[in-house]
């Protein structure tokens, strides 16, 4: 029988380009990848097992630590699920503040993902520009919430801190600088001939393949699917007139460009929030009670779902979390990596789908 596979090359778990441990096994012929499999299991902490039977006050902090990059959305989805169970009404000002913080978190996550990609394709200059820009976003996040990463800003019935008048001024000034910077970097990325050689037409995920693999978030948006954005179903985003963006190329270039465009979109959303920000209290009343619900929100990487069942004392009896990276890693390994021309492109394609191993395994 003719031998079709030359070598099976494992990449990872510790790899210079990857932030987190995961192993991708590539079956190659020459340097061309025929098939790829992902091997996980280095980060399983059993967070859902710890959460079961604990009061919501503890689960709130555990939920935030499912993922350190997109901690705000985990906090937001868990708390909003609790609020839906117990019919707690959120003051309008608090709802807007949640959107502001969530969008800031999305911005820093997207900028970090794009940094990782630029670092992987060895465009270190653009990577460092982006990482420096991310620090500006982190400053704003810290100014509003009091912490850089795990801020626990959103609590049942409202938010923890109000936005002061000087914070609004500072935030507006920063947004102007950020918009200018990101537009410049988008231009560099879009027009760079070397970047195009490494990105355009590499790791293609067609629209059908994206639907088959249930890809979500920027990965799906780069393949022309935009209707699955959970922000379309969120009342505050509906008030802001949110329209998701999409591109049709489906390659590495498109995925990075979608993230750049979403950062610009987030800036516009925050500006709109600041314009419409109503006066009033930031916390309503209410105690979490018994019930069960499946609730989802849009994380930076795609749809994030929580299924929660609580008792009358507010203890979490059952919890199940579905994070976006599971679907995106699936799409990456089974569709994008197939036929990738060289092993150097394997790492960059894997990074372009922005896998978050910590929240995949929990």
């Amino acid at each position: 029988m003719k031998r079709t596979v030359d070598v099976s090359i494992p990449i990872g778990p510790v790899h210079p380009c990857w932030k987190e441990p995961a192993r991708v096994k590539c079956e190659t012929r020459g340097e061309r990848v025929i098939s790829a499999e992902v091997e996980l299991g280095y980060m399983k902490k059993g967070i859902e097992r710890i959460m079961k039977g604990r009061p919501w006050q503890e689960v709130m902090f555990l939920a935030e630590r499912v993922c350190g990059i997109c901690s705000v959305i985990h906090n937001m989805v868990f708390i909003e699920a609790l609020e839906h169970i117990s019919e707690i009404v959120v003051p309008e000002r608090a709802a807007y503040l949640r959107v502001i913080v969530n969008e800031l978190d999305r911005m820093q996550s997207h900028i970090l993902a794009n940094f990782s990609y630029c670092y992987t394709i060895e465009h270190e200059t653009l990577g460092m520009y982006l990482l420096d820009t991310r620090e500006k976003v982190m400053d704003e996040l810290e100014r509003i919430t009091g912490a850089r990463v795990t801020c626990a800003f959103i609590v049942p019935g409202g938010v923890r801190f109000d936005l002061r008048a000087e914070d609004v001024l500072h935030l507006r000034a920063s947004l102007d600088i950020l918009e200018q910077d990101i537009k410049r970097y988008t231009g560099i990325f879009e027009r760079g001939p070397m970047i195009a050689l490494r990105s355009r037409g590499v790791g293609i995920l067609t629209q059908e393949a994206a639907r088959e693999s249930c890809a979500v978030g920027p990965t799906a948006k780069a393949s022309g699917i935009a209707d699955m954005d959970r922000r379309l179903h969120h009342p505050t985003y509906q008030k802001l007139g949110f329209v998701p963006i999409s591109r049709n190329e489906g390659d590495n270039f498109a995925r990075i460009m979608v993230r750049f465009q979403e950062v610009i979109q987030s800036i516009a959303l925050i500006r709109k929030c600041l314009d419409q920000l109503p006066e009033g209290p930031i916390r309503g009343g209410g105690i979490p009670g018994a019930g069960e619900i499946a609730y989802s929100g849009e994380a930076p990487r795609g749809e994030l779902s929580y299924f929660i069942k609580t008792d009358a004392a507010g203890r979490v009896l059952e919890i199940s979390i579905q994070t976006p990276s599971i679907m995106n890693i699936e799409a990456c390994c089974h569709y994008m990596l197939k036929g990738v021309a060289s092993l150097a492109d394997v790492t960059s394609t894997f990074v372009s789908s922005d896998p978050c191993i910590a929240c995949t395994e929990r």
Binding site: P13, V14, H15, P16, C17, W18, K19, E20, P21, G41, Y42, M43, K44, K45, G46, I47, R49, I50, K52, R54, F61, L62, R65, V66, C67, G68, I69, S71, L112, F115, M128, L131, D132, R134, E135, M138, R148, V149, T150, C356, I357, A358, C359
Partner: protein, 150 residues
């Protein structure tokens, strides 16, 4: 100590290679380590070079609460690092397990049970400046009088 040795000590403390390994964290500390690369903190101005190759590293940053998937793998990674070497625990997780060290958990902290830890940086997550100052405080001791010690 000879003049040559003291010169070596000075020069070598300005040339530190860092690798990081995530043994089950929430990703927050990883990103703060990555943020050290940013021009604002600029880890390379101190002569510290961050890459993720254990075979060239002098300092290993251990992040996370030691999940069962790293059984034996962390030790073999530690053995791959050439002498002299130190490990620094970043964040609460490798020190105590932080939030994850509860009933029904899968993690097995502290990491010092599995590999020797020279310094610890508590925080959930610690700020990039704290990580930076920990590496800088350990850096002069890594190579100090290495030939004599041997």
């Amino acid at each position: 100590m000879t003049l040559l040795q003291s010169l070596k000590n000075i020069v070598r403390s300005k040339s530190i290679h860092v690798a990081y390994v995530d043994v089950g964290s929430c990703n927050g500390c990883d990103i703060e380590v990555l943020a050290c690369l940013a021009p604002r903190y600029d880890i390379e101005q101190y002569g510290i070079y961050v890459h993720n190759n254990p075979r060239e590293a002098d300092v290993l940053l251990v992040i996370g609460a030691y999940t069962p998937g790293w059984e034996e793998k962390l030790q073999s990674l530690w053995q791959k690092i050439p002498d002299p070497k130190v490990a620094i625990a970043i964040g609460n997780c490798p020190i105590s397990g932080c939030l994850f060290n509860r009933p029904h958990t899968l993690v097995d902290p502290p990491v010092s049970k599995h590999i020797p830890i020279a310094a610890q940086v508590p925080g959930c997550p610690p700020r990039p400046t704290e990580i930076l100052s920990a590496i800088l405080s350990v850096a002069p001791t890594v190579f100090k009088d290495f030939e004599v010690r041997k």
